[in-house]
């Protein structure tokens, strides 16, 4: 299956981003309660996030956004699509 194309390259699920890698959000989960909640936390298309970690056994994914860590459930992290950024090209981590 070919990954969906987005401006800037192919997008992957946030959970599949390696730890420490950056990505620009290309697609958010379909409209429902959780989309509102994510957006209220500042997660929206175009924002650059760093994946900090993913817990085993379908545990949550922790990401860093504007200097803040946010943990989201495994299922949601599969429907947040990001375009991976190279370290040099991507926005640096806010406090690095």
């Amino acid at each position: 299956m070919t990954p969906p194309r987005h401006p800037g390259g192919p997008a992957v699920a946030l959970r599949d981003l390696p730890n420490g890698a950056f990505g620009r959000i290309a697609e958010m989960p379909a409209k429902d309660g959780c989309a509102e909640r994510l957006e209220a936390l500042g997660l929206r298309v175009g924002k650059v996030v760093e994946k900090v970690s993913g817990m085993p056994f379908h545990g949550p994914v922790t990401l860093q956004l504007d200097g803040r860590q946010i943990a989201i459930g495994w299922k949601i992290s599969s429907s947040v699509l990001v375009v991976p950024l190279s370290r040099s090209g991507g926005a640096p981590r806010h406090h690095e």
Binding site: E36, M55, I70, A71
Partner: protein, 579 residues
């Protein structure tokens, strides 16, 4: 201060931005605050006098948005919609962009706003500089930098309440709002390069798939060790010697006055054991009635809340939610449910109240039932360790192991039986902060005084009731009626029925009574497991009723009694195979 002439002031902001700390600063009313989102689900109010004005100040539950996504936000939206004379929007300077979303929503509704740009000290540490003057100019509302925990800037903030204004915001769509926020943020905020500190690295490690587990296990193990060490130390090194030395002579004297026996003596001093007063076994109001709450339970309550307050204020608990999410997800909950469960280890009441942070009725039912069944409160734990620890820690471990297993199994069963689905975790993880000793001490004091006010009267009442039931023969009748269950199913003597039933008042006293019956270790294990899991104590019962409603409470109680009997019988059978 009359309610009619007072002006209404709302404190509004995202969760965990220091609203409660600011509220305490402004009103002198102590609000409990912690370093995790959602400490305030209900709201608090207090008074402020400033110049000629009297303000009724309301601490609104933390909200990310006025388009509600949970109960706290529904409450916040309602309170903002009701209108007021001024709103202090508290912004977290370390996350300005996201915090401005709520501020814009409030301003767009035309409410007079003053902005408290809070945690500017932490922002500076993080290399974030915000220009408050420029922010004020761009928004058209007063902006004051504050550090609520230390009080910095609070007075200036209050001075400017009269200048509150809706500013320049006009009603806009979400996209327009984010764009406007982006423009403002870009102008007022400068982010400097900064190296990773030790705390930053610890933050990352705490949610790492390997180190997170290592740290989690270390935190839990060292917390339990510290609680036990401090609890035992306080009992053996301080409180027990004090009681023996200063209180025992008074009791002996009183016992002599009452003639060493008789009805009144039995109620006030209790029964003499081998001719002596025994604080643990006499069961008089002035002996066991004071000894149990003050000497045996208080030290554990104190050390538990000291450790918990530290973990709360340091900001560790939300990381625990990340670690436990995978397990809790299989029990119909998400990771955040670990926080109410942990609070339940102190007292089930605040634990069950904290289940309000969960999203659905289904989750709240599962979480509250699991807390009542399988989370022993500090009082109960103190008595379990006191009664069983002397016979060997193996017995204590069997009780804890059974409770843990029941927690997991019952969660799994409830998740499969109840219609609905496990919600997904979405939680902001606060940065680690070195806790303020003063704030921790204050919180500890509030919790300990709460324990005293609630526990001591109930323990005294329970002991009075036991004496009266004994004297009137009710205990005998009850024991006779329940004997088939207790001796037949659980292998316990009929006398164990009365203490287990009295667990409805307070479970710590009930274990104290069980300990006087001369049971074998395995009988005591079965009895404490049954007592721990079966119906809740009266305080928990009331709060469950309020939170769940009558029908769900009945279902929850049915589950508790069934689980208690099944666990009691199973453990009895397993132990009889072995011993």
């Amino acid at each position: 201060m009359s309610e009619k002439t007072a002006k209404k002031l709302l404190l509004v902001g995202n969760p965990n931005v220091g609203k409660s700390a600011l509220f305490t600063r402004i009103t002198g009313v102590h609000a409990v605050s912690s370093n995790y989102p959602g400490t305030t689900v209900g709201f608090l109010e207090g008074w402020l006098r400033r110049g000629d004005d009297v303000w009724r100040v309301i601490d609104v539950p933390g909200a990310y948005t006025l388009t509600p996504t949970n109960e706290a936000e529904e409450v916040a939206e309602r309170m903002v919609a009701e209108g007021c004379d001024a709103v202090v929007v508290v912004l977290d300077a370390t996350a300005l962009e996201r915090n401005l979303f709520l501020a814009f929503q409030v301003m767009e509704r035309g409410l007079p706003v003053v902005i408290a740009l809070n945690m500017v000290d932490e922002a500076r540490h993080k290399g974030i500089d915000i220009n408050p003057v420029l922010l004020e100019e761009l928004l058209g509302v007063p902006v004051v930098s504050t550090v609520a925990v230390s009080g910095e800037g609070v007075s200036r903030l209050l001075d400017r309440l009269r200048e509150a204004s809706p500013g320049r915001a006009v009603p806009s769509t979400k996209e327009e709002r984010w764009a406007a926020i982006g423009r403002v943020t870009e102008k007022v905020q400068k982010v400097r390069h900064r190296h990773h500190t030790f705390l930053d690295k610890l933050e990352d490690a705490s949610v790492n798939s390997f180190w997170g587990l290592v740290i989690g296990i270390a935190v839990i193990a060292s917390s339990f060790t510290a609680i036990r060490f401090a609890g035992e130390g306080l009992i053996d090194g301080l409180l027990d010697p004090l009681f023996e030395r200063y209180w025992l002579p008074v009791i002996r004297y009183l016992s002599g006055l009452f003639g060493g026996g008789g009805f009144l003596h039995d109620i006030i001093i209790g029964r003499l054991v081998d001719g002596h007063v025994d604080f643990e076994q006499s069961f008089g109001m002035l002996t066991t009635g004071l000894y149990v709450p003050v000497v045996m339970v208080l030290p554990y309550v104190l050390s538990f809340y000291a450790v918990l307050s530290f973990l709360e204020d340091f900001g560790y608990l939300p990381r625990l939610a990340v670690i436990f999410d995978a397990i809790l997800h299989r029990m119909g909950l998400h990771g955040f449910a670990i926080i109410p469960s942990l609070l339940g280890f102190g007292c089930n009441v605040p634990g069950i109240l904290a289940t309000r942070v969960l999203d659905s009725q289904r989750e709240r039912f599962i979480a509250a039932t699991l807390i009542s069944v399988a989370i022993p409160c500090a009082g109960l734990q103190a008595m379990i360790i006191g009664a069983l620890g002397g016979m060997g820690m193996k017995w204590v471990a069997i009780v804890y192991g059974t409770l843990l297993f029941s927690w997991l199994l019952l969660g799994r069963i409830l998740h499969s039986l109840l219609p609905g689905f496990s919600p997904e975790l979405i939680v902001e993880i606060p940065p680690y902060r070195i806790p303020s000793l003063k704030a921790m001490a204050l919180k500890l004091w509030m919790r300990i005084s709460g324990f005293f006010l609630e526990a001591v009267p109930l323990v005294l009442g329970g002991i009075l009731l036991i004496s009266l039931m004994d004297a009137s023969g009710i205990t005998g009748v009850l024991s006779g009626l329940l004997a088939p269950v207790f001796s037949g199913l659980l292998g316990l003597p009929a006398e164990a029925a009365a203490p287990i039933l009295l667990g409805i008042l307070r479970k710590d006293v009930a274990v104290g009574m069980l300990a006087t019956l001369g049971l074998s270790p395995s009988q005591l294990v079965v009895a404490t497991i049954t007592l721990s899991m079966t119906f809740p104590c009266i305080a928990t019962f009331i709060v469950l009723w309020r939170e769940l409603g009558g029908k769900r409470l009945a279902a929850s109680m049915g589950i508790m009694i069934a689980s208690a009997l099944i666990a009691g019988v199973s453990v009895r059978m397993l132990l009889s195979l072995n011993v």
